[in-house]
Symmetry: C3
């Protein structure tokens, strides 16, 4: 593993999940592996869980952590090759990435989709700019297109809940649990990153995975592939063991909010016996009702807690490749 | 001690003061008690002394510290039960507190009074929201109604200055020093938190305590209780050994500035031989004159310095309760 | 060394450069010298390199680091003696510096020139305010008039590139390399701090140093002294081994941008065989062309990397004076 840009950077997903669960049981077992090494965390957007769980994970490995809110504390970055920098942007990604590689042994980057232009967002200019121009491993703390620390933590959570039968290498036959990703309403236009990474994660597990959303909310077909899509939420949720809830804006009519239909809000009645997941922050009673979040059907705190061990596994793997 | 929300959470105040003074003499004596534990510090408002003294205290105990300026770096929080979250607030206190409890072993919170509505401020929604929904100890770094780390540091400072005779358990008779809390003018409307905690602290010491302020500036009678109040500042200050100076806005006409009368500014002439205290930041020549602050009558730097040991004592007591 | 306010605070510059180069080879060789000591870093302006390289340097010495973005996280400071503080400024430098001296063993300060008034900037009110009122060593992380950590790192970089012959104590005769400081255009008015410190550094090396800039861009004559100034850039650059590029605004017509002449942009053609330096951030294709920055003529990343060892040397020297 050179960088951790997407879930595809984890070569053996089953093994990674099992190792992360083992780390959770003994988080300080490798406290010296990061000694005298520095993790830089660069935030271009707000962050609670990612900010703190990644710091926690780093400290569990003995790493020093330097946090920087790049937009406020640093300089506006230019990403275009050959740009004549006579406007507001004071520093080019080439220098920023090069300089930080001299100070940090690993760099985490959070930079959301701007949802103004699909073409622009698909360039992943911040994440890939750093990956291209830095000489140290880059970790995706949520980019325009993916949130692979979340997707990994979600897979860990599902494995803990449903058991190792969800890991293809351990159980290629037998009962296959049903997992549904359900769109839900939200007052603001949100990126696709979390949904994308959850889909990628589910494709690597032994689950019967499907997606439900109103018409017009199709995600990137390159990511959904042959995943079944059902436009009737009730039909989709029937028999599910896990319902993963998430809002996203339109991919086709890029970044637009098409529907805010409150009948898509996830309630206790809708999910029946299924367990409910969400990456947080969650708008209560808009995305998911109190009667789910305040019940034992909610796995949201477990997911957040597993962010630490997902990050810790990733950091450890990257540290292993260093002298 | 489960949380440190107010001075009442310190069961034996005399003992706590003496132990904090002992910590000050040997601050690194318990450097391993916080090892592998994490303190999260959440700031909803500006902070200099609290921010840095609490970090210093934590590091003296071997704690890891994660600082977050919540308003800028995180998500806007909703505090109402049952809220339909379709406005600007992205995350509910239930999730924020629950998630942070997974990452941090202790959480400190600073959230000032907004001074818009007495009813709202008295709910202490931020501090008590975290105390209710977190599963780890919460430390008050100044809330709407109190600043108990400041009140504790003030009591430590007074004990250092006046001697152990101010501790009721050590001297129930003899000379009782006079301590006066004096209102002073200020161009902005300020909260009541510091004054409130100072009053609570003084009631637990063996001092003759009174308050002086212009008419209309009465503090919450539930807090002042039977403390003598004198509206003539000169009369009030006569014979005082300690004058604690602080501005606050009206409690009755909630959050309003009624008077900016410069004759209430504390000067060297007014305090005579008394020593002068203030929590800082202080507006020079508005609240307190240069001829006090630049003289050896000023205890303000000692008070600030004692913030470290107040915080360190609180953190240590909370750590003692942990496995 | 009591403080590190300017390059003049380094008594033996040759020795300091050689020691910093030695630290670079073995940065963890003194990991315990800062143990149980705290460095406070106060930023009044944006910072990338200074922020992170100084943290890195501190951690290499075992120091605890507390970072504060003073303008957003703290209180607005008053610097005038005797001010009646009834406007927006909540805290006086006297208290801020005094209080922080109780929490930190060393304090670094970044506060740029405001470029509104030469008289005001020349007072260095932030840096000198802290140096006057703090009781611990102050480190200049770029002030109105100087950037001595940058100037020191630049001298380290030049010594690494040109060899020890640039150190007067080691080679008082023989080949004297030519070093030119060239002004370059920039869309914004920039301070003089970096240029000032570079000039001071070059005067302490065994180099043939000159400056080139358009007429009207003369720097403070007290700093340039008898340094040759050439207004034809091409003539100036002829035979140079090092070209240090930097924009600054007018000193005479204080803080104004007089010229944005693109013919002053540094290109590969202009610098010939010289190596190119810049403190970063750099506006590509305005200050320096891509064909320089993307070539092996560019030393900008080495300069940035050497910031760590410049800071580490300074911190170590200051720590040596402490009990």
């Amino acid at each position: 593993m050179k960088h951790y840009l997407s879930l595809q950077d984890i070569p053996d997903f089953d093994k990674a999940i099992l190792e992360a669960i083992a780390l959770k049981k003994d988080p300080l077992s490798e406290k010296s592996i990061g000694r005298d090494k520095t993790l830089g965390l660069l935030f271009f957007n707000a962050s609670l869980r990612t900010r703190i769980s990644t710091q926690k994970a780093a400290k569990n490995l003995g790493l020093e952590v330097i946090v920087m809110n790049f937009s406020q504390e640093g300089w506006q970055l230019e990403y275009e090759d050959g740009a004549v920098m006579n406007t507001g942007k004071a520093e080019h990604i080439k220098e920023a990435a090069g300089v930080l590689s001299g100070y940090c042994d690993l760099i985490g980057i959070r930079a959301f989709a701007e949802l103004q232009s699909r073409e622009e967002d698909q360039k992943e200019k911040v994440l890939l700019g750093f990956a291209t121009h830095a000489s140290v491993p880059i970790i995706n703390l949520e980019s325009a297109l993916g949130h692979p620390l979340q997707g990994f933590a979600d897979a860990i959570t599902i494995t803990e809940q449903l058991g190792e039968k969800v890991l293809p290498s351990l159980n290629k036959e037998g009962h296959v649990p049903k997992v549904v990703l359900s769109w839900a309403p939200h007052p603001k236009a949100l990126p696709h990153a979390v949904a994308n990474s959850f889909i990628v994660a589910m494709k690597r597990l032994n689950v019967a995975f499907s997606i439900t959303h109103p018409k017009g909310y199709e995600l990137d077909p390159k990511i959904t592939g042959d995943t079944p899509i059902e436009h009737h939420q009730d039909t989709a949720l029937k028999g599910a063991e896990i319902v993963y809830v998430k809002n996203w804006s339109s991919f086709k009519d890029y970044g637009k909010v098409m529907v805010e239909d409150p009948s898509w809000t996830i309630t206790s009645e809708k999910i029946g016996n299924a367990q409910c997941m969400h990456c947080l922050p969650v708008r209560r009673n808009v995305v998911i009702a109190d009667n789910v979040l305040d019940s034992d059907k909610s796995l949201v705190l477990e997911q957040a807690n597993n962010r630490t061990y997902a990050a810790q596994w990733v950091l450890r793997e990257l540290l292993k490749t260093m002298p």
